[in-house]
């Protein structure tokens, strides 16, 4: 947790394709929050797709080259640390920099040296691969570089009364060796950030469960079942909203809500905002800077409910921690 530095922390910013389309509000709110909290973002010039799921399911070297190109673009403008809001882009970028650091592998049986990942990537890029650049998520930047205390101090309109279920998705923290951020089984970064915004964070057991991800296309039934579980659990936990950090999770839980509800036979009306949207509200940023209108399930009723709850006298919350039974 660093105190406000003399020069603002600066990162190369890699938006990722989703953030130019279905998740434009994630991009907009991420930029707005960073600006409000004194984090300077410099766009990676001429950035391209990280390769995403299609590339790495076909060819690891090609996927690595696609991601490495973006890291290189950042390095060329003098930035080693790239930040991106999207966990999938983050995984692609971190995987590439991880493999680029590997030495040449030697086949233990033949003794032959296979060309290193770096060599192969450079062959595809037709130029030297990046040397140092690595990527971190916008969430990690906000929690670690800005710090939860600094965020709490900057909050102007606390989200009092709003009960939120923090949902990290599968890959924000995993695999732990690669992502090296927070606890892979029970992450708390988002919890702490939302608590700093004044929200009530419910103990949501499905923080890192899968939403069905890209199965929404080939096997809709799987995605419907998994996302319905997430919504059901959040409702059971008494949450007003599921707060996400991933554009694909958001799409499955929000845009595909009618499909999920149809499958589950439920009528879940719980909004699924990005954490940057709620953070922006708490920081007092105008709604249009946060793209709240882009959410399919509207956020406003949840905010209204929260306001009403916050206005109620205390003690109405109920459900305090259970007391341990005394032993005989």
């Amino acid at each position: 947790m660093s105190a406000p530095a003399a020069t603002p922390p600066t990162f190369a910013y890699y938006p990722g394709c989703s953030q130019t389309g279905t998740a434009a509000e994630y991009d907009r709110s991420s930029r707005a929050c960073c600006a409000a909290l004194g984090v300077r973002l410099v766009d990676v010039p001429d950035w391209t797709c990280c390769g995403s799921t299609p590339a790495h399911t076909v060819d690891h070297v090609l996927a690595g080259a696609l991601a490495a190109r973006n890291l290189l673009q950042a390095e060329l403008i003098g930035h080693d640390r790239v930040t991106t809001p999207c966990p999938s882009c983050l995984a692609a970028l971190r995987t590439a920099s991880h493999h680029l650091a590997e030495p040449e592998a030697e086949d233990s049986e033949t003794g032959l040296r296979a060309p290193s990942f770096r060599t192969e990537v450079e062959r595809l890029l037709d130029r030297p691969a990046p040397l140092r650049a690595d990527a971190v998520s916008v969430l990690q930047v906000l929690v670690e570089d800005v710090g939860v205390e600094a965020i709490a101090a900057a909050v102007k309109a606390p989200l009092a009364g709003l009960r939120v279920a923090p949902y990290y998705g599968c890959i924000m923290n995993r695999p732990p060796g690669l992502m090296a951020f927070d606890d892979p089984e029970n992450p708390t970064a988002l919890d702490r950030l939302l608590a700093a915004c004044g929200a009530t964070v419910v103990d949501y057991p499905f923080k890192t469960e899968c939403c069905g991800a890209a199965f929404g296309m080939p096997r809709l039934d799987i995605m419907q079942r998994l996302s319905a579980r997430l919504l059901g659990m959040a409702a059971d936990c008494g949450a007003d909203a599921i707060v996400v950090a991933c554009p694909l999770c958001q799409m499955n839980l929000d845009l595909r809500r009618s499909q999920v509800n149809a499958c589950a036979g439920k009528n879940h009306a719980m909004p699924v905002p990005y954490f940057t949207q709620l953070l922006g509200l708490a920081l007092g940023l105008p709604e249009d800077a946060l793209g709240l209108d882009k959410l399919v399930v509207p956020l406003a009723p949840a905010l209204e409910a929260a306001k009403a709850r916050a206005a109620e006298p205390k003690n109405a919350n109920g459900g305090g921690p259970k007391e341990n039974a005394p032993c005989a």
Binding site: P184, D203, C327
Partner: protein
């Protein structure tokens, strides 16, 4: 010098790939060799007879046997040459089995290498000098560190064998993990009923001195003559006066202290006797929580004590004991399951460890043998057991199997069904390892007679259920035999936590100068043939400090260690190995490098009358490792039987052959 050489065929082990006759023929040409032959089995009676006869008839000064590893038969052949009147160190062995015959099928090159090795042995033998062992008196007492079941067994065996025993226990009472168990597998008999009488025997045995609430601070000396400093931590109660009546426990106002004996599932008082069968049954104050020590108030126990035993001014005491041997029996600790986020990381009160469950099952435990959920005291109807928590799991750096969890899990599942007949018990397992006597049958009983549901697969997540059964836990996992995901709503989850080395095991190993592995378990001298010895002579191992072990294995090893100690100390005097470092005082410059480098503390600096210093080897402590002799800048320290001249003679013998070969 007159040297005899015998080349062994070892049946076909050597002869199949080495031309033994050619080796013997070549050996006849070596300097000082007056006799060389080959033999089917040099170690057999006729083989040894031939060696003895030849020594006598040809008046040999030394013998080389080319055969197996010296670890196998060096002692055998040394005895043979000794019987024939030679000094036992006038013997050398060339290993042409493990180092030659077993590693290559190329008969020609094998034979050449065997000839080289014999030539080296002969050259070394030419510089051998007779060495004689010295003898020294021994202390007929043994120090046993740790008084769990292994330490108790070793103490009783040693004491019955006539040795005085100094038994040191870190905790307030002896008994270890076994005293916490309810029942033992596979017989399901009461643990403390079996152990209790042994604990009483320890407390009453005239030959056993028990230091409870004590730790070994320092061990110096050598086999036969160790000196140990023991820190007796103060209980703030005069144990010579305390009668163990327990009046202080009833009146102590600080009642929220974590109860270690009950694994924290209930609380206890700041002044405490851990359990009814405790030995010694004496009260002790935990100064970290006592109001008298933390706030300066109170003093109730002192007022109430009918024996006037409580004394807040008592201090730690350090006692020194002299012993001839040491048995380490420090046992194990359990894996900390809060590292496993998938099982809740300690957040859910109804996810407990197996040892906590054991305390709950125990009639003398805090629930008087009734199984109750820690959260609400309700009797659970569905209990899920998860095996291998912190065992066989590289992601938490515990790649090893903890040995006994499969069995205690089966036992606990059976007891669950016994205590609550309308309950259901599930066991998630990876493999079932039930290799002991009656173990497999026991697991089958759990499955077939007690209808315990065994699910082969790992648990991915535990989370609290919501809705109508809102107070349950959902256990999600894989059933790899069905190839399906399973979800079980459980009232209680019991984690079969694996074994870890005892806290502070590494530090104790350094004090004892014994080795330990990456996980803190003490290393035995040889995994098969010397399982209770360590590489430090006179220090032995018993129980789970060496590796995770169940009760039968711990007791067996404890008796084995006691047997080793009794055999060692049955002699009034011990012989020291003469293959040790020797200082040539005239060469020594007193730089002290050897003293600093010696891993056994066997070198000390002696001051001469002119104030200069010379190194001196404590003969009984030196293990003959040779580190000092390579450290010495002026070659003043030589390792007897492995002197520089001997090693150079071997190198020269080898290089000379190489020269001849390349020239030709």
């Amino acid at each position: 010098m007159r040297i005899g050489v015998m080349v062994c065929h070892c049946g076909n082990n050597i002869a199949a790939t080495v031309d033994c006759e050619a080796v013997a023929a070549a050996a006849r040409e070596f300097p000082d060799v007056v006799y060389a032959t080959d033999h089917m089995y040099a170690c057999s009676d006729p083989g040894q007879g031939t060696i003895e006869k030849t020594i006598r008839e040809l008046k040999l000064d030394g013998v080389v046997v080319a055969s197996c590893s010296p670890r196998m038969h060096e002692v055998t052949f040394r005895r043979a040459v000794e019987r024939a009147g030679l000094n036992r160190y006038m013997f050398e062995m060339a290993n042409i089995r493990e180092h030659v015959a077993w590693i290559s099928l190329d008969r020609k090159r094998n034979t050449e290498k065997a000839i080289d090795l014999v030539r080296m042995a002969v050259e070394k033998l030419r510089y051998d000098r007779p060495l004689t062992a010295k003898s020294f008196e021994v202390q007929k007492r043994v120090l046993i560190i740790g008084a769990g079941v292994a330490g108790i067994q070793a103490a009783l065996d040693c004491a019955e064998g006539g040795l005085d025993v100094v038994l040191v226990e870190r905790k307030q009472s002896i008994g270890g993990v076994m005293s916490k168990l309810d029942k033992t597998f596979p017989t399901v008999d009461c643990s403390v009923c079996v152990l209790g009488p042994k604990m009483v025997d320890v407390g009453q045995h005239p030959r056993i001195t028990l230091h409870a609430l004590s730790e070994v601070e320092e061990l110096s000396g050598y086999v036969g003559n160790f000196e140990v400093k023991i820190r007796k931590k103060t209980p703030f109660v005069d144990w010579t006066k305390c009668t163990g009546c327990g009046a202080c426990l009833e009146k102590c106002p600080s009642r929220k202290v974590r109860d270690g004996h009950n694994e924290g599932i209930c609380t206890t008082t700041a002044i405490n006797i851990p359990f009814p069968q405790a030995i010694p049954k004496r009260a002790a104050i935990d100064a970290t929580v006592c109001l008298r020590f933390t706030k300066g108030k109170c003093g109730v126990c002192q007022k109430i004590c009918p024996a006037d035993a409580v004394d807040y001014d008592l201090k730690d005491e350090v006692v020194t004991e002299k012993v001839g041997a040491v048995i380490a029996a420090t046992g194990l600790d359990l894996f900390d399951h809060t590292k496993c986020g998938e099982y809740g990381g300690g957040r859910y009160p109804d996810v407990i460890t197996s040892l906590q469950y054991e305390r709950m099952l125990s009639a003398s435990g805090p629930t008087a043998g009734h199984i109750k959920r820690p959260s609400d005291g309700r009797e659970p109807k569905t209990v899920v057991f998860i095996a291998c928590v912190g065992s066989r799991d590289r992601s938490v750096d515990r790649p090893y199997c903890s040995n006994f969890c499969c069995m205690y899990t089966a036992k606990q599942a059976i007891l669950t069904r016994d205590h609550i007949p309308d309950s259901r018990a599930y066991v998630f397992y990876m493999d079932i390892r039930a290799t002991g006597k009656g173990y497999e049958e026991f697991v089958r009983r759990a499955q077939e007679e007690y209808d315990v549901q065994y699910v082969r697969g790992r648990v991915a997540q535990i989370y609290p259920s919501t809705g109508p059964d809102g107070d349950q836990l959902v256990v999600r996992g894989a059933d790899t035999l069905l190839g399906a995901q399973v979800e079980i709503k459980a009232d209680l989850v019991v984690l079969a936590v694996g074994a870890e080395s005892a806290k502070g095991a590494g530090a104790l190993a350094e004090k004892l100068r014994i080795s330990y592995d990456a996980y803190g378990f003490f290393l035995e001298s040889h995994p098969k043939l010397r399982p209770v010895e360590t590489n430090t002579v006179g220090v032995f191992l018993a129980g789970a400090c060496q590796a995770p072990k169940d009760i039968p294995a711990s007791v067996a090893q404890a008796s084995a260690a006691a047997g080793k100690v009794l055999a060692l100390l049955s002699k009034d005097k011990l012989e020291s190995d003469p293959q040790i470092a020797q200082v040539q005082t005239i060469r020594c410059i007193g730089c002290g490098k050897c003293e600093r480098t010696c891993p056994f503390g066997a070198i000390r600096m002696r001051e001469l009358r002119d104030g200069s210093k010379r190194a001196e080897v404590v003969e009984t402590v030196c293990q003959g490792c040779g580190i000092c002799s390579v450290t010495c800048p002026v070659r003043a320290i030589q390792l007897a039987h492995f002197t520089d001249s001997q090693l150079l003679a071997e190198v020269n013998a080898l290089c000379r052959t190489w020269d001849e070969n390349t020239e030709s």
